[in-house]
Subunit: 188 residues, 2 copies
C-alpha cells in the first residue's frame, strides 16, 4: 500500500482542527492540548509539531472556521439580505457554541500580537458578504456613498458580538432594530 | 504598635490589584501570579488566599477599574457630552493599556461563566454615564423615546471595542462619525 504523506497530513490537520472547534464550542477556551489529542486520536507530540502553543492551535481552528464558505444569500433585495445576515449573527449569539468560539478567539489573541491580527482577519472575513450588499445599497442611492459600509455593518453586528462576549443573546427583534437604526443613520 | 488587620488587608488588596492592572496594561493577559507577587511585594500564597485562580485575580483587578469614578462631563449640551465620552473611548483605543485590559477581561471571562457576568458588569458600569445623556436627548425630543438608549450607545462604542480587540485604533474622525450615524439613526 502506498501512502500519500501530503494527503495524510491534511487529514490529520483537519481532524485536529475539528476536534479543537468542537471542544471550543462546548467549553470555551479552557481546553487543553491533551483533550484535543484524545478527541482527535492524534498524538500530542504530532499536534505540538504543527502548533507550537495551545493558543496557536485555537487560532488556527478559528481561522479554519472563518475560511469556510458562508452560504450566499439568494436575494435580489440587498436590504433583505442584510437583515437576513444580521438575523443569522443574532441566531449564533443564542447558541452556546458561537459565544464560546468568539470568546476563545479573543482569549487566544490576548496572549500575543500575532494572534491579535488573526482575530482581525477572522472578523474581516466574516464581514465581507454583508459589506458587499451594503455597497449595492450605496450604489442604488439608498445609503450615503461617503460612509464606509464596513462602519455601518460594525454598528449592526458589533453590539451583538460584545453582548455575546458578555453572555447576553440578541433577539430577532433586537437584530432588526440594529439594522433599522444603522441603515437609517447612514441614509442619504 | 497596634495594627488594624482590616485596614492592612485593604492596603494589601489595593497593592495586588494595582500591580495586576499595571501588568495587564503593559503585557495583556499573559501575566502570572508570580509576577504580580514580585511587582506588589505581596507573597504568592497571600494572593492565592484572596483569589483562587489567576483569572479571578484578573477579573477583580478589572472590576476595581470599572468601579473607579468616571469624571463627570461638565456639559449642559447632552450631544456634546456624548461626543466627548465617545472621543474618550476612542483615545483609549489608541493606547496600549486600553486594548490590553479589554482583551484580558474577555480572556479571563472565557474560562468560566461566573467571569462572563463580571465582563458584563464591567461594560454596563462603563455605559451608565453616556446612557444618562442619551436619556436627556430622548426627553428633549431629539431621540426616539421608543429606542433603548443603551442600544444607541452600543452602536457608538462597540465598533471601537471590537476594533480594539482586533488591534485597531479608532481615530477622532471615526468616533465622531459613529456618534453622528447612531444619533441620526435613532432621531425621531
Amino acid at each position: 500500500m502506498t501512502t500519500n504523506p501530503q494527503r495524510r497530513g491534511a487529514a490529520v490537520e483537519s481532524r485536529v482542527l475539528e476536534a479543537t472547534l468542537t471542544l471550543l464550542a462546548e467549553r470555551g477556551a479552557a481546553l487543553t492540548v491533551d483533550e484535543v489529542a484524545a478527541a482527535s486520536g492524534v498524538h500530542k507530540t504530532t499536534i505540538y509539531r504543527r502548533y507550537a502553543t495551545r493558543e496557536q492551535l485555537i487560532a488556527s481552528a478559528v481561522m479554519s472556521l472563518a475560511e469556510q464558505a458562508v452560504p450566499p444569500v439568494a436575494d435580489d433585495d440587498p436590504r433583505a439580505a442584510i437583515e437576513r445576515l444580521a438575523l443569522a449573527v443574532a441566531a449564533t449569539t443564542r447558541t452556546d457554541a458561537g459565544p464560546n468560539i468568539l470568546r476563545a478567539t479573543i482569549a487566544a489573541s490576548a496572549t500575543s500580537s500575532e494572534l491579535v491580527q488573526l482575530a482581525d482577519a477572522f472578523f474581516r472575513a466574516r464581514y465581507a458578504l454583508a459589506v458587499e450588499h451594503l455597497r449595492r445599497l450605496a450604489e442604488s442611492g439608498d445609503l450615503r456613498s461617503d460612509v464606509d459600509p464596513v462602519v455601518v455593518w460594525e454598528q449592526i453586528v458589533n453590539p451583538m458580538h460584545v453582548r455575546a462576549l458578555c453572555g447576553r443573546a440578541t433577539s430577532e427583534a433586537d437584530a432588526r432594530l440594529l439594522v433599522e437604526l444603522a441603515l437609517r443613520g447612514a441614509a442619504p
